[in-house]
Amino acid sequence: MSTEREAALTAGEEAALVARARAGDRDALAALVSSNLAAVYGVTARILGDRELAADAAQDAFVSALGALDRFRGEASFRTWLLRIAVNAARTLARRRGRRREVALEVAADLAAEQGDPVLRVALGAEAARVEQALARLPEKQRLAVTLRVYHELSYGEIGAVAGCSEGAARVNYHLGIKRLRELLR
């Protein structure tokens, strides 16, 4: 299975797209959305635990970020800046809509439905449900660190920039999350 990180833009490609997007180039805007959607949605989905809310939060994040490109100074990567906005958008939406769902099974149901082999469908569906339940039980900081590291291969420095914590704290949150998942999924 390929990861979203593999499709991530190089720093040069990203900078060129941001410059074109600032000038109003719709193709550049579309490329920035396409190349970052999996990571942005991954973050909002893991925070909110609800597919529709996650899509709303992802949209909020892109609209906010791309509408304020002039504020992006390039001190971090655009991707990191965008993910930081996505995290805050998800948390803002969570506050507005009430508590997040305790268990998110929609992702598991989608994954199972995609499988043609009935036996594989049942097995993967059950596994996905366990994974989603386990992830949902992690404290949000740990869940976010695990999501950004495992699914999107961000460095601890990048995770810290996204989460608004130090690199060391991001690393500890990741390891704490993995240890907890090992207990929950064994």
Partner: protein, 157 residues
């Protein structure tokens, strides 16, 4: 090449399947996993997690692009039509100030662009997490300076 320790291996495990590892670290990590039951189990755990990605719903890219505040041509057309209607009616229904406001909102970096970004979206929400690093996981601080520098170099590469 010195053998990779478990702490470093577990830091690098999430990068094993992507392009973020050097050939040397990949070889070292694979050799470590082959001989370490605990790290092999963690690699299997990460593989299980990756089989359950959060996949964006179909059509979300288009929905986002439609929602982007790039209605500039429409705004310009609206201003033009309003001005024309005002002229034809012989009444000054659209004053210079109103037109100027719309044009300002249309300009890159103008009021519309900044108004779209609530300040709360850019505020940090987890300040002061360093105590985690200091207290909860002391084993992470037992790495030598050299090991930390190697790890940081790889993480930042």
């Amino acid at each position: 090449m010195s053998a990779m320790d478990c702490e470093t291996a577990r830091d690098l495990l999430p990068l094993l399947r992507g392009a973020g590892l050097s050939a040397r670290d990949r070889a070292g990590l694979e050799a470590h996993i082959a001989g370490c039951e605990g790290c092999r189990a963690e690699a299997e755990l990460l593989a299980m997690l990756r089989r359950t990605p959060a996949t964006p719903p179909a059509g979300l890219v288009e929905r986002i692009l439609d929602a982007l505040p790039a209605r500039r041509p429409r705004q310009r057309r609206a201003v033009g039509l309003l001005a024309l209607a005002a002229t034809l009616a012989g009444a000054v229904l659209v004053g210079k100030g109103v037109v100027q406001d719309l044009l300002d909102a249309d300009a890159p970096g103008g009021p519309a662009a900044s108004a779209d970004l609530p300040a709360e979206l850019l505020q940090p929400f987890w300040p002061g997490d360093d105590e985690l690093a200091a207290g909860i996981a002391p084993a992470l601080h037992q790495l030598s300076v050299d090991e930390l520098e190697v790890l940081l170099a790889e993480l930042e590469s």
